[in-house]
């Protein structure tokens, strides 16, 4: 097999496995995996910016929340049906990421991290400020009757799993295609050596902006899908914690690998799940894993696999 074939076999094999698992898994893990696939989509969006372009954002929760509220508020206050509401959620993420990117990309490094953090914090506070519509920290439930997409009831576990799988598959396939496309190759070049990429004649700013928008839009799609599939939107999804989590998922799974976001999300989800059975301080796990990864395994799971087993892993 060529490297391309191996890579396609691996990633489509994963999708096939995830599809098949729904028939085997007990209800609890079935529900978890639906959630993991939506969150892994968020991580895929984050990884495009962090793993492939080399830009570390500490504010992606604002894009996730833009999708969530863009979608949720349309249903709640304007009586939209899910399809157009989803579209508006995604568009909200697109517009927000374009605006934030255009400003934040004037900075680099630590300043970029803090600017994104500050914008996200402002976003969170704005959700609280308009509590009359958003119901602030408490959030709001999207009723079962409002969650029917093209006649399919998305509160039904089977439909929900399938929808999550579709979203995850689409975004994984998109990123698989993207990193083979010249645009994606250029993002990697910018990550590796920005001034060299510029002196080859690439417009670095526009490529980075494209990456922020793509990343923000995928994150918004995940946020919108999360609210629709699980019937709830709340300001907690806009907090710093939800900006840190995708960073953790991607670091754990392996930044700059396609399979990393899924692996990282899966492991973190179950780590937190297990830890919360023992203590309310389950976020301790997040802290320990972050420190341990930074100290001992900078490449994450996917990076270690690439370094030790499969050097073709994209």
């Amino acid at each position: 097999m060529t490297e391309t074939q191996k890579s396609l076999a691996l990633h489509f094999g994963l999708l096939a496995l995830l599809f098949a698992l729904q028939f085997i898994l007990p209800a609890y893990h079935h529900g978890n995996l639906s959630r993991i696939m939506v969150l892994a989509t968020y991580a895929i969006g984050y990884n495009l910016l962090f793993g492939y372009t080399g830009l570390l954002s500490l504010g992606h929760a604002m894009f996730f929340a833009a999708g969530m509220y863009g979608m949720g508020l349309m249903i709640r206050h304007l009586g939209f049906t899910p399809a157009p509401a989803l579209l508006i959620g995604v568009l909200a993420g697109l517009a927000l990421s374009a605006a934030v990117g255009a400003l934040a990309l004037r900075t680099t490094g630590v300043a970029f991290m803090i600017v994104t953090l500050m914008f996200a914090q402002a976003g969170y506070l704005i959700i609280l400020y308009f509590g009359e519509w958003t119901r602030g920290d408490e959030g709001f439930v999207i009723q079962q009757v409002q969650r029917s997409l093209w006649g399919i009831d998305l509160s039904d576990p089977t439909a929900r799993y399938f929808a999550a799988w579709m979203l995850f598959s689409a975004c994984l396939a998109l990123s698989l295609w993207l990193i083979r496309h010249p645009f994606g190759r250029t993002l990697i070049a910018i990550r590796e050596n920005e001034s060299r990429a510029q002196m080859l004649g690439y417009d670095v700013f526009r490529h980075k902006l494209g990456a922020v928008v793509l990343s923000g839009t995928i994150s918004a799609a995940a946020g919108a899908a999360y609210a629709l599939l699980f019937g709830y939107a709340g300001a907690s999804f806009a907090t710093v914690q939800y900006s840190i989590l995708p960073l953790l998922w991607v670091l754990l799974g392996g930044a700059g690998t396609l399979i990393g976001p899924f692996l990282g999300t899966l492991f973190t989800f179950y780590l937190i799940d297990i830890a919360s059975a023992f203590t309310t301080a389950y976020m301790l796990v997040v802290g320990i894993v972050l420190v341990a990864l930074t100290l001992f395994a900078r490449q994450g799971i996917g990076g270690e696999i690439r370094a030790r087993l499969w050097n073709w892993l994209p």
Binding site: L56, L58, L103, A104, R106, T107, G109, V110, A111, M113, I114, V115, L117, M118, F119, Q121, A122, L125, I126, L128, Y129, I244, L247, L251, T279, T280, A281, Y282, M283, L284, V286, G287, I288, V289, L290, V291, T294, L295, R298
Partner: protein
Amino acid sequence: MEFGPYLMLASLEGAVTAAVLALTAVGLSLVFGVMRVVNVAHGEFFMLGAVLAWWIATTMGGHPAAGFAAALIVAPILVGVIAAAADMTILKRVDYDPERTIVVTIGLLYIIQQLTLMTYGPEARPVEPPFNTRLALPWIEWGENGLGLYWPWGLSTTTYKLAVIGAAAVVLIGVWLLMTRTRIGLVMRATQLDREMAQAFGIPVERIYALVFGLGAALAALGAVLIVPIQQAHYLMGGDPLLLSFIVVIIGGLGSLPGTVVAAILIGMSDGIISVFFTPTLAKILATLLVALVLVFRPQGLFGARPA
């Protein structure tokens, strides 16, 4: 209350906020200035100071002043030692790489916060102030007999609040003297200017870094000990000071101590005064957006000089 007295009250409350904020932010600024790293766990060192203050005061028992005095000395030292240990075991090993340091201090943030939750618990607990006499304040007004003083109801402060402002001022002057007038301050500034050069001249850079990181955390802890008789100690109390310190340090010009103090006074005072006009949430929204835009358009800070 009328507007004038109300504004005066807000300014006094703002001055207390500003005093504590200045201590906390100068700690963050010191670490950024000398070590060129952003410590995201800074707010947790603040929280740790407050929680330890409660623990020390409760363990001591006896007169509140004795417990508080012990906390005022012991809590910052303990927090400083913990921070220095974190520097030597963790930050040193990521080689103070700016981005990896941020990630690793985020990890530290959760570890400290969640360990506090596991041991101290989710309750908010007060510490009794060592002294707390209410001082009614006068207001000037045109009355029937011309200009006269009167005491509006509710316009008051406490001796303790005034003491907080005084204590913060003394400590800040102390830090300034330490940095400008002592040998250790000179060594710190040399390290800040050029780490390699400092190392070449035999300055033990690693020990200086541990010292600075400990000192930065101790200043945050000190701020927390001072505020804990007014607020309460809670395991999630580190978030706001972290955010506000970020705002202050960035607006004051990264790594500039005088700029940081000026910005702390500005932000702390306006936090009190703005909330007269806006809701606190709106004030925070405006402040965070201001910080983001300052970093984008004026990265040297509002008070910093544009580099040549």
